[in-house]
């Protein structure tokens, strides 16, 4: 060991200049704030202070700094170095750009690794600040090789509870599981669309994810007329298929609504429903029948 290890000091947050600020994804930032609030700061930020100056220039840690400010903290632990402003720019760019993007699977394996080291779901949940159910779901998906679902959970497209249902359900049941979740308002309509797409891809090409590298390599290729037409056709097919399904769904739905509206105007029918205990329509259906949802 040598003696020139840099030191960690408490630095006033309002004495730090952010030289090269960047806008960030709000959701990811809020998650960072929550994580820091519950687990604490995991890594000091890095700032530069020139000899004889009172203020500091930020080298890296804009997110952590802003999170500390959002949490009302006057000071933040920082590694203080002494480099010219120009170098701060370079280091900050390097720290942002020379950074590996972790595939969701690799990321989530860090949770699996804790499990392998013998920690319980509860202990892991406390370590990473997620619910026990979330940790349980991730471990289950990992054990079953559900890479697409893990990726979708990580990106926030599918709630972990729904991903579990999908992984456990047989094909025909998936739709029912989605419908139930929708009725219970745990997912929204446009989310359902995204989930359906993931399920379809999962059924088409298995649970695994394609190697990331293969796509980026083909992206660099020259455009040929065939590849262009293929890409275009794929896109048109995707859109056409959706249009077809959507039109059909809409016409069936409008038939059901009209028919039920007419039936419900008949006292005899309403009495029958009551006798059978079926007088309450599921809420989303009732909204359509009563016309509270306007057709676009």
């Amino acid at each position: 060991m040598t003696t020139d290890a840099p030191e960690v000091r408490m630095v006033p947050v309002d004495a730090i200049n952010v030289l090269n600020p960047r806008a960030r994804n709000k959701r990811v930032f809020q998650e960072l704030v929550n994580s820091i609030e519950h687990l604490g700061l995991k890594k000091p930020i890095t700032v530069s202070q020139r000899p004889g100056r009172a203020r500091y220039d930020l080298v890296c840690g804009q997110g952590r700094l802003e999170a500390f400010i959002a949490l009302g903290q006057p000071e933040i632990p920082a590694i203080v170095i002494d480099v010219p402003e120009e170098d701060c720019y370079v280091m900050s760019l390097v720290e942002n750009l020379a950074r590996r993007q972790h595939r969701p699977l690799e990321l989530m394996r860090a949770i699996g690794a804790l499990r392998e080291r013998g920690y319980s779901h509860q202990e892991i949940a406390a370590k990473v600040d997620f619910s026990v159910e979330y940790v349980y779901a991730i471990c289950y998906l990992l054990e079953n090789g559900e890479e697409k679902l893990i990726s979708a959970v990580d990106r926030g497209v599918i709630p972990h509870s729904i991903a579990m249902e999908i992984a456990r359900a047989k094909d025909g049941e998936v739709q029912q599981a989605l419908a139930l979740a929708y009725e219970e308002k745990s997912i929204r309509g446009n989310q359902v669309l995204a989930i359906r797409q993931i399920i379809e891809r999962r059924n088409n090409s298995g649970k695994g994810l394609r190697e990331r590298g293969s796509r980026s390599r083909s992206g660099g290729r020259l455009v040929t007329s065939e590849s262009l037409i293929r890409a275009y056709q794929k896109e048109t097919e995707r859109q056409k298929l959706l249009v077809k399904r959507a039109t059909l769904a809409r016409s069936r739905l409008s038939f059901v609504s009209t028919a039920l509206r007419r039936l419900l105007a008949d006292d005899h029918f309403v009495a029958l429903l009551r006798a059978e205990g079926l007088q309450t329509l599921p809420r989303p259906l009732a909204e359509r029948v009563n016309g509270r949802v306007q057709w676009s």
Binding site: N25, A231, Y232, E235
Partner: protein
């Protein structure tokens, strides 16, 4: 008064030999082939570690690496004798990478522009990032000719350099249309934007002749693609928003109809009074279950 936020590491930074540090995972072999990996190796060689590695102290006195696997690899390759390390209180490695807010290409562009404006030499940046000076120039001018609304729309999206190259060939109205399609399909790949460029109307492009030559398609082929794409896209946009809701209400409705028809009294009522409803209800129930199967098998 605000509660103090916990500091989850030891404030004393250790200088450890890279050989004393045990990786907590094996890097996937394909990682070493990637540009980012090479960029990290080169940046460590040029500048050294900027942020410290994060380790956990183990019972046997060894250190387990939590954050910085590629950088440790770089230090070992270079034969470095010491590395600055933060000792974490806990031993989980998930949080470090999970909480990274990735830099969108547009943000990267702004950061590079500001650094250059403040007098950082292009060559210095290029060297530190292990790229050609031309790449820095490309990044600097990435948004030239891009409509402001489009920049706003894509500012935190993973739209790449290629996306903007292609968008630039379109007039602003078409740029916006394409950007909206990309957001709605959540597809920011080069091949997607190329297809959208190829199916743009000639009047939507700055240099239509140039493009047609580059794609090798005949004028008739292009015209046909354009017509098809335009009509499909209009329907698509209109229906996309309501499709998810419609499908689900339909499944809910089919479930309800199935319950209705399971009661003999109700079935008889419909059979006597509204046979046309009964037939259609039955076919909707069947269709809904067929739909699951086809959606599952599709």
């Amino acid at each position: 008064m605000n509660d103090d936020i916990k500091v989850a590491f030891d404030r004393r930074i250790l200088m450890l030999s890279p050989y004393e540090i045990l990786p907590s995972k094996i890097l996937p072999p394909e990682v070493k082939e990637r540009i980012k990996y090479k960029r990290i190796i080169s940046s460590v060689a040029q500048i050294g570690l900027i942020e410290p590695l994060v380790v956990a102290r183990q019972e046997n006195g060894k250190y387990l690496l939590l954050d910085g696997h590629v950088r440790l690899d770089a230090l070992l390759t270079q034969g470095a004798t010491e590395a600055k390390c933060i000792v974490a209180d806990d031993d989980e490695s998930f949080t470090y990478n999970k909480r990274v807010n990735r830099l969108a290409p547009i943000q990267e562009h702004y950061m590079i522009v500001r650094a250059l404006e403040r007098g950082v030499a292009r060559e210095k940046l290029a060297l530190a990032l292990d790229v050609d000076v031309r790449v820095i120039e490309q990044r600097r001018h990435m948004l030239r000719g891009i409509a402001p609304e489009v920049i706003e729309l894509l500012k935190d999206k993973a739209a790449s350099q290629i996306t903007f190259q292609k968008l630039r060939k379109m007039k602003p109205i078409r740029q916006l249309e394409v950007a909206e399609l990309m957001v709605s399909a959540n597809n920011f790949t080069g091949s997607y934007v190329k297809a959208l460029l190829a199916t743009s109307k000639a009047s939507d492009l700055h240099r239509p002749d140039q493009l047609k030559r580059a794609t090798g398609l005949s004028t008739e082929q292009m015209a046909r693609l354009e017509r098809e794409m335009t009509s499909v896209t209009e329907d698509y946009k209109e229906l996309e928003a309501s499709y998810g809701d419609d499908m689900l209400v339909l499944v809910v409705a089919a479930g309800f109809l199935e319950r209705l028809l399971s009661r003999p009294e109700i079935e008889k009522f419909l059979f006597d009074r509204h046979p046309e409803f009964l037939d259609n209800f039955r076919s909707i129930i069947v269709a809904a279950s067929l739909d699951h199967q086809s959606a599952a098998a599709a």
